[in-house]
């Protein structure tokens, strides 16, 4: 629920990083915090346990500056990934404008990824939101690890695509970030769309800003629609 405040001339958009526990959501935010100039971001707030596991959320506001007279700001949130924190996880999704799903590429974490993705769809639905209609990016993190699953396997399991009902969107659409791949394709007479994905190693920042840039642009486009 982006809010356009015409009185103070501000636009605030809410981005949520979702995914299984220990997948790298907080690491994404920490990298952004450390790399963005201090004048362009606020404090990083972490409601975490003593062992630095996210308990409620991490929060980082990033200022895009004043554009055409509107101070534009993105509010970045993470959710607690651990299964038993679902009540808090659901709260954070309230009013979300864009979602980044941070998947853990390790083969051993495939089940946890699938469970978290299902949980994301369920929690969005309970808020009355449809994940296929809002800006949504998948980040495959930890690509540097030797036990990382092949991208094809991760895509099949986590990003198989959803049916496209809107005739205006039923056209072959190339994936702007991966040459030779498509976001919307026709299979057996049906049109399917996949979420854009990025490979990442959040620990050293690889893919972190590619992900953030892509989801931010998608969110801003929704302001114009």
């Amino acid at each position: 629920m982006s809010m356009i405040n015409y009185a103070s001339r501000e636009i605030n958009c809410k981005l949520v990083y979702y995914g299984p526990g220990l997948g790298g959501k907080t690491t994404n935010l920490e990298f952004v915090y450390n790399k963005v100039a201090p004048g362009s971001r606020g404090k990083l707030i972490s409601l975490a346990t003593e062992t630095e596991r996210t308990l409620f959320f991490d929060f980082l506001p990033v200022d895009l500056g004043t554009i055409r007279g509107f101070k534009t700001r993105f509010h970045l949130y993470t959710v607690p990934g651990q299964v038993y924190y679902n009540a808090s996880r659901k709260l954070i999704l309230k009013g979300v404008d864009g979602v980044v799903f941070v998947a853990d590429s390790q083969v051993e974490r495939m089940e946890a990824n699938i469970e978290s993705m299902q949980n994301l769809y369920d929690n969005m639905a309970q808020h009355g939101y449809n994940l296929t209609n809002i800006p949504f990016i998948i980040q495959y993190n930890k690509r540097d690890l030797p036990n990382a699953a092949p991208i094809g396997d991760l895509q099949s399991a986590l990003n198989p695509g959803w049916e496209v009902g809107d005739p205006a969107r039923q056209k072959l659409t190339p994936d702007p970030y991966h040459e030779g791949e498509y976001l919307v394709v026709q299979q057996d007479g049906q049109w399917f769309e996949r979420a854009t994905y990025f490979e990442a190693v959040a620990m050293n920042g690889e893919g972190v800003f590619d992900t953030l840039r892509a989801v931010s642009k998608l969110v801003l486009k929704t302001l114009g629609s």
Binding site: G42, G95, R213
Partner: protein, 162 residues
């Protein structure tokens, strides 16, 4: 419904809210009145300017209120319409407005919880009306948001996250 709906906030809305809160602060002797939306965004600040980071404060307020909302349901209440956090010198009173935003009142020893609660009732009633009017205003002002804005915003994203 696809995602959460956007809403916009106009100059005249701001004037009405400032008027209501300024009157309430005068009558209750509280220091600051703030409106925070349930997604964690600061909408308005009236009275003494707080020394803390308002952006962080707003996100924590929304989380606090939402968590307490769920606790209310667990014990069989539809909601907690208000919350009170007592400090040694500074205290906070939070009240729900139109199920979409939260009124936060900061006050200290110069007044009492009783007076704040007494005076806040009328303010909440008036604010409920203002926000109900705002949310009823479908598609208010935000449709077709300037194409020029979007172009420049994309450039800024590339610069900042490049």
């Amino acid at each position: 419904m696809s995602g959460a709906s956007s809403w916009s906030f106009r100059e005249e809305d701001s004037d009405r809210i400032h008027g209501i809160l300024a009157g309430f602060l005068r009558e209750s002797n509280a220091n600051t009145g703030m409106i925070v939306d349930r997604t964690g965004q600061m909408v308005a600040v009236v009275g003494e300017a707080p020394e803390f980071d308002p952006v962080a404060f707003a996100s924590l307020t929304a989380a606090d209120f939402s968590a307490n909302d769920q606790l209310a349901r667990m014990i069989g209440e539809a909601e907690f319409g208000s919350l009170f956090h007592q400090g040694e010198k500074e205290s906070m009173y939070l009240a729900d407005i139109a199920r979409r935003v939260i009124l936060v009142v900061l006050f200290d020893n110069r007044t009492t919880l009783g007076l704040v609660k007494l005076r806040v009732r009328a303010a909440v009633g008036e604010l409920n009306k203002v926000f109900a009017d705002m949310f009823d205003r479908k598609g208010s002002g935000q449709s077709g948001f300037e194409a020029e804005y979007l172009g420049e915003a994309e450039d800024e994203i590339d610069k900042l996250f490049g």
